[in-house]
């Protein structure tokens, strides 16, 4: 499908429709999700727009809905999740809904405040009850007439007592007891104490009352003699029973109201959202003087024009208007938005490309190539088939249960679910690169038999005897002794003997570094080749593409050739020149040191290549600007000939032409420097493929050696228990360090390689994204 390789062709369309059918038409377009409305009133401020009142009303309704939802959730009433009504919101619905919401809000607020007052009364009555119950013995004990009785919070009581002592120096008698709550009184989880202070004088009583106020202790009138107290108790008990009943009724009423509201909550919410979106869109349109016609300008993909037209006709039919809307495509110089049609599989990759920069209109889209190269470069850095397998299984779980995960509405999990196909491909490629690196939880597989054998190193074939083994701790196998190296490399991947060798890193480093450079140059060449597609005419190809390719190939292509040559040709280890030194000497034209040739005609070939590369730089720098300059001089001459009458126009044209020439030279200079220096620095940047895969392999080996192997070597009977515990630690560390941390790190670096090293060869990325009015997208986003 062409559209994924390049953004789609868009057209600017003018729509004319009647005011009555406006809501229905915009509703249909919203369901279609394929048009983006342009702002036809760019100068106006938000509160000057025509439908600003209606938008405010919708926002007020959303606020009430949020309040309702909170109340419903607080009372643990389930909200039925499914609703499929696709009713079209019309203007009179707005008023209807508005009045309903206001009424509901009032009702609920009233119920809530009533309930709170009732609860307060209830608590007070309960406290009086407790007070009366517990103070019986106090009154028996102390026969003083004046007293203050009340209830205070338990943790404040010690401070209260201390201040009483300080103020009155023991001129009082204090009795207190803790209230032990019964089961059904869970209204007040705060622990409270009942206290009675007996005093001699009235003034002291007044002071104590003030003190109680200060400590927020509630005081209650308590009768002196036992009989009055008993009467009061029966009184209080009846009141408590009544109140309990009233409270129960209030709660029931509240619950019925809320359940009735909850049933419709989803539907109302979606309706209000749609209304708000429609009014917001109407604000962007132009309404003509007669108030009968609405003019809108939309960006829409050319291939979808028919569906847009059908949707509009459908909308206007529903509203019962007689005239069908007019669709008028207009030509324009403005840059259209960039639209890449994505499926659920490709949307993850497109979004990571767009995160760096949305492509220019109809520029080549790097996403289809990124779908393979990104997981592949990740896998080169991750490179462990055991971890890759775990990652693939995790991604498979995400893919199969994505509905369940989306319901959790957690941001981190949402991000993981959005990238489930990316993670799946990353895992699959990691299994492959893990098999080639021969690394599975830091152990190697020996499927085909190693190419290295130890026996030929011993007498009579080779230099070792049994004494050699006793003398030294480590010995090198020598490939020059016949039979040690079988002559055929391990058929699939890295030979398993390197896993048990102590100089494993010497081999692996050289291999991985060269591999990174080869991969890097290949990736960059691919990027430069893609830039070919962006050029429209042949001249640009000659001016820019050919010198770029020749520059890269003559220097870095030659480097690749040297690497491959050194690998494929047999040579002695002492006489093998270092490729790095060869390359540096080539650039410096230094052929003085001996033994620096890999092949006979090396010197003339290298000189030729460096000269060619250096010649490419002025070609890149000057060819295009000079050609443009000549073209402009011709244009200037022509315009001079025929615009003599338009005196001012010519002057302006001259100035703009001269300014743009300087611009072009500067731009081309920047581009040349960026490209040439970038070739070198970007190639070196690809060495991170080596660095991260080394880090991953080493971390994985540490986990094996220091965690799991320790438990596996235990010989006593408790070893099995220790192994179970250690394996748990091993698993947790593997997942957190190697999968999560290293996975994120490799993801980031692979992404950087794409964004910078790959895309700066061909991608401009300065467009703006197509954001259509789409009710589905709004619903997914909430």
């Amino acid at each position: 499908m062409d559209s994924f390789f390049r953004s789609e062709e868009m057209c600017l369309v003018q729509l004319f429709f009647q005011t009555e059918s406006a809501h229905n038409c915009i509703n249909e377009l919203g369901h279609l999700g394929l048009v983006q409305f342009k702002d036809l009133n760019p100068g106006t401020v938000a509160f000057q727009r025509r439908f600003v009142k209606e938008v405010k009303k919708c926002e007020e309704m959303e606020r009430i809905l949020r309040f309702l939802e909170n109340e419903v959730v607080k009372s643990n009433i389930p909200i039925p999740a499914d609703f499929t009504s696709e009713t079209i919101p019309v203007p009179r619905d707005v008023l209807d809904l508005e009045s309903r919401f206001d009424k509901l809000e009032q009702e609920l607020k009233e119920i809530n405040s009533n309930r709170d007052t009732l609860r307060q009364n209830f608590t007070q009555l309960m406290e009086i009850n407790h007070l009366l119950q517990m103070t019986d013995d106090f009154f028996e004990e102390v026969a003083i007439r004046l007293f203050v009785a009340g209830v205070i919070k338990h943790e404040r009581f010690p401070a209260f007592e201390k201040i009483l002592w300080r103020l009155f120096h023991g001129n009082f008698v204090l009795r207190h007891a803790e209230i032990k709550p019964h089961e059904e009184e869970n209204m007040d989880p705060v622990k409270k104490d009942v206290f009675v202070v007996f005093v001699q004088g009235d003034q002291i009583r007044g002071k104590i009352r003030k003190l109680c106020d200060g400590f927020h202790a509630s005081m209650y009138p308590c009768p002196n003699n036992a009989y009055a107290r008993k009467e009061m108790r029966t009184n209080v008990n009846t009141r408590i029973e009544d109140l309990r009943l009233v409270l129960k009724r209030t709660e029931e009423f509240r619950e019925t109201t809320l359940t009735a509201a909850a049933a419709n909550l989803q539907e109302w919410a979606s309706k209000v959202k749609k209304m708000k979106a429609i009014y917001y869109t109407l604000n962007l349109c132009n309404i003509d003087i007669t108030q009968k016609l609405i003019v809108a300008e939309i960006w829409c993909p050319v291939s979808d024009l028919n569906s847009v037209h059908t949707a509009l006709i459908h909308g206007s039919e529903q509203s019962g208007s007689s005239l069908s809307p007019v669709v008028n495509r207009i030509q324009t110089q403005q840059t259209p938005p960039t639209f890449n049609r994505v499926t659920s599989f490709t949307s993850g990759f497109q979004s990571i490309i767009d995160a760096y920069g949305v492509g220019n209109y109809q520029e080549i889209n790097p996403a289809p190539y990124t779908m393979v190269t990104f997981p592949f470069l990740f896998a080169v850095m991750f490179g462990d088939c055991g971890h890759g397998l775990v990652m693939t299984l995790l991604a498979l779980w995400l893919i199969l249960h994505q509905e369940h995960f989306r319901k959790l509405k957690n941001e981190l999990i949402d991000m993981l679910v959005d990238g489930r196909y990316i993670i799946f491909l990353m895992g699959l490629f990691s299994i492959y690169t893990g098999l080639i690196y021969n690394d599975c939880f830091s152990k190697s597989f020996n499927v085909f038999g190693s190419s290295w054998s130890v026996r030929p190193m011993f007498h009579p074939h080779g230099p070792w005897t049994n004494d050699t083994l006793h003398d030294s701790g480590h010995l090198h196998l020598d490939p020059l002794v016949s039979g040690v190296y079988s002559g055929n490399p391990y058929p699939f991947g890295v030979d398993p003997i390197w896993n048990i060798a102590s100089n494993k890193l010497s081999f692996l480093n050289s291999y991985k570094m060269k591999m990174s450079v080869i991969m890097g140059v290949a990736h960059m060449l691919f990027g430069v080749t893609l830039s070919l597609v962006n050029y429209i005419n042949l001249k640009d190809v000659a001016l820019q593409f050919i010198p770029e390719v020749i520059f890269m190939l003559s220097l870095f292509g030659y480097l690749i050739f040297l690497i491959l040559y050194k690998w494929c040709v047999v040579m002695k280890s002492e006489s093998a020149p270092s490729i790095l030194l060869l390359f540096i000497n080539m650039m410096l034209f230094d052929y003085s040191s001996e033994g620096t040739v890999l092949y006979r005609t090396q010197k003339p070939v290298q000189i030729f290549l460096v000269v060619v590369a250096v010649l490419m730089v002025p070609w890149l720098l000057f060819a295009k600007p000079l050609l443009l300059y000549r073209k402009h001089k011709q244009l200037k001459f022509l315009s001079l000939l025929f615009c003599l009458s338009l005196f001012f126009g010519v002057k302006k044209a001259f100035v703009s032409l001269q300014v743009s020439m300087a611009d072009i030279f500067v731009y081309q200079g920047i581009h040349t420097i960026e490209y040439c220096l970038g070739c070198i620095s970007n190639t070196a940047s690809y060495l991170r493929l080596w660095a991260l895969s080394l880090a991953h392999a080493e971390l994985s080996e540490v986990l094996w050696k220091m965690v799991l192997q320790v438990a596996l070597r235990v010989t006593s009977g408790m070893g099995s228990v220790l192994l179970a515990v250690t394996f748990a630690a091993f698993a947790v560390l593997t997942v957190t360090i190697l999968l999560v941390m290293e996975g994120l790190s490799a993801f980031l670096h692979a992404l950087r390689l794409h964004w910078v090293e790959f895309q700066n060869k061909f991608y401009k990325g300065s467009g703006y994204k197509f954001t259509p009015l789409s009710f589905d997208r709004m619903r997914d986003m909430q």
Partner: protein, 78 residues
């Protein structure tokens, strides 16, 4: 001889994946994307395998093993 067998097999395999399977992808909106993915996968994976095998073709030095390992390999490996 034993080098050319894996060479031929792997080259044929990735050549099949990248060169033959694309012709059999059914026409549909995703055909271009699927073909791109197949070709790129074949190229990347083949290149990666090729680098691994070429780097071991003519080794300049051999592995350094501890004497326990040498003792074990002497008796247990061919």
């Amino acid at each position: 001889m034993a080098f050319s067998i894996p060479m031929v097999i792997v080259t044929l395999f990735w050549g099949f994946v990248g060169g033959v399977v694309p012709w059999f992808i059914p026409k549909g909106p995703n055909r271009g994307v699927v073909i791109t993915m197949l070709v790129l996968t074949a190229v990347c994976c083949y290149l990666f395998w090729l680098i691994a095998i070429l780097s071991q073709l003519n080794p300049l030095f051999g592995p350094a093993l501890s004497n326990d390992t040498i003792w074990y390999l002497q008796f247990h490996w061919r």
